[in-house]
Assembly symmetry: none
Homo-oligomer: 184 residues x 2
């Protein structure tokens, strides 16, 4: 359970990320912390890798917003229900976080997240009693982002319909979506 223990056998960890650079950097960091890391860049190959040799942990990066990546979670768990899956995304929102957990992920982190944060998020136990509520309200931008994500999801990712429902210009929605991952 602890990758830092040099006497322990390495825990196997499958890293799924379509960005080769980020993938390599993170893989290196995780390897240095004692994990046996393998990487894939697509959902399909990730599933194949898991079927061939089920890992203990999976770090699943959803670079592309949408549920296509999320659906990999139940598929992996079908292969081996003991896999502990961690979702990592640049397009983090409460709605997709809820989705991911319902589908069986053990945690969900917004990017950027470093290796230490990822490992820490693996060790949180369900039912942690001391969970301090963030005493600060969401910023206007954050709230807007959450709302957009939720409505967009309800409309199956249809930008035009979402813009109409939100009473905003389609062009504006496009721009907001494009700009978000860049913004912290």
């Amino acid at each position: 359970m602890n990758g830092n223990d040099p006497t322990a056998e390495s825990s196997s960890l499958l890293l799924v990320d379509d960005d080769p650079t980020f993938c390599r950097v993170l893989a290196q960091a995780l390897t240095r912390r004692g994990f046996a890391v393998s990487t894939t860049h697509t959902s399909a190959t990730a599933l194949l890798a898991a079927q061939a040799d089920p890992p203990e942990y999976v770090v699943l990066d959803l670079n592309l917003a949408g549920d296509s990546g999320l659906m990999l979670i139940p598929e992996l768990l079908t292969v081996e229900s003991a896999i502990r899956i961690m979702v990592l995304t640049g397009y983090a929102s409460i709605a997709t976080a809820v989705e991911a957990i319902k589908l069986g992920a053990v945690n969900y982190l917004p990017k950027p997240a470093d290796a230490d944060q990822i490992l820490a998020a693996f060790t949180v136990n369900g039912g942690d009693p001391a969970m301090p509520i963030n005493a600060r309200p969401l910023s206007i931008n954050r709230l807007e982002w959450e709302h957009i994500q939720r409505v967009l999801h309800d409309n199956d990712g249809n930008i035009s319909v979402t813009a109409r429902q939100l009473n905003m210009h389609r062009r504006t929605l496009q721009r907001k979506l494009a700009k978000r991952p860049a913004q912290f």
Copy 2:
């Protein structure tokens, strides 16, 4: 099976919220949609009410409750595991959303959310019997306005503090407030 059908038996719904005003408004809206709504304002009374007569649904607002609010989820589920619990909060975060789902909530919504959104959030993912599903999402502007009003109220009308919390310029907040002579 449909909350709009007056001949159908009403679904029971327990609303837990420490803000009497918000509680009353939401209770009314849910009643109008065909639910048998009861309300409590504390975790303790909520648990007692559930023990006395387990509802089908719970809407749990943890605006001020802190961690004890989240822990009400497993306590309710211990009483009756079939209760469908929905968490609603003005201080939403991904971390608490993840926690709430792990503890057994069926969904998690940031405030402001109207009755339609809350009901829609109950229906996702879980083979729930039909509910009124006309949910038209709030426009960005209305969402923003309600959020501002809530935070402003929490800060006793202090514009400077509110602007800082909302991560927006005080001048901008002033202008937004000035532009709504009559909300209602």
